[in-house]
Symmetry: C2
Subunit: 235 residues, 2 copies
Amino acid sequence: MNLVLLHPEDLLNGSQARLTGRRFRHIVEVHRAAAGDALAVGMLGGRIGSGRVIKLGDAALDLDISFDRDPPEPLSFTIVLALPRPKVLRRVLRSLTVLGVKRIVLMNAARVEKSYWQSPFLEREEIRRQLILGLEQAFDTILPEVLLRPRFKPFAEDELPGMLRDSVALVAHPGSSAPCPREVRRPVTLAIGPEGGFVPYELDILSACGFTAVSLGERVLNVETAIPALISRLA
Amino acid sequence: MNLVLLHPEDLLNGSQARLTGRRFRHIVEVHRAAAGDALAVGMLGGRIGSGRVIKLGDAALDLDISFDRDPPEPLSFTIVLALPRPKVLRRVLRSLTVLGVKRIVLMNAARVEKSYWQSPFLEREEIRRQLILGLEQAFDTILPEVLLRPRFKPFAEDELPGMLRDSVALVAHPGSSAPCPREVRRPVTLAIGPEGGFVPYELDILSACGFTAVSLGERVLNVETAIPALISRLA
């Protein structure tokens, strides 16, 4: 937790906040903060600044807060990701948030196991928890939007074409001979397949939508490695 | 497991191999291979080719194997990484292997918790297990070398300067205003700090060694996200 992310319900008034629970314990046990110490704070959805510990209790601490700057610039990326297995999903949501992605679509694909859609990690609160952890890591305050699209065809045919308008639309496909471009200075829509990749039928639909297949080379990266590698190459 | 990685002890003769245990179960349960099916195979430390299932038993399967190409080109990167916490270490070792890094140094730093050095995940067999998983993912056969350096100062002062000779030496430091360069077409030595970063004393020693501090921007990435992002930017 690099940034203490404040929620509206933490505010005692315009310049003070009270923290309990996970953030309280982290500040006491990991940061080992004492009264008088200053911590980086951000208002969820808002600005960033500093919070000075003014009272430290057994289960809560109070901060004097002030904000002086905007959160980091978001990336103009939409990530369209075949739903990964639940444990990977959690880390991937955090990683995408850390990287600054603000729109994430989790969609179905032929090689996504059906059971993944029943995972408790897909519940709104669980998703939000991972996004918050990502924001705290990256000194950011703006939650990404996460869309769930459990049916591939209607999503890809009806919704995706509108979503990728005016963006560079790429599908990461290890079989492609086109290298992933570098430093694209335009909005990007990046589709990433499941383990084993998209099936030809899906690639055809994505191609009809306007996606170009690109690859990072001969190696087939796992999704957790591929996501930061692709985004960093493109951004 | 994209590539079935064969070990010398699997060979029945020059053109046949027998698999048991984890790889046998994976091929049967995940690939659902039947007699006659062909799988991508690679010889540990050697070439890549194809293996046809010629016998499928309850606990073992036999493959007819032939090799026709070299593994993917390695990256000319040395990664000098402050030892991460054990669970992260496992994923990071896999990820570095997947990306094609062939030399990994796990070193101490002031913000590395001492207990991490006692982790069972640092045992030779555990490290090797993660590297093998990385090779199987990336269709590679060449194991990275992993060095453990539990004392920062003697390593950084006596060994590191020789190690980075003729390479571009960079230390990832979120506080730096120098952006991480792109597409460096030379060998790279990349130092990555612990959670919370290197302390100033360590940065001074690294700088005296010849490292230049670079950053990927305002966001502070977690190590699992930072590694593929940095390598992909630089490679």
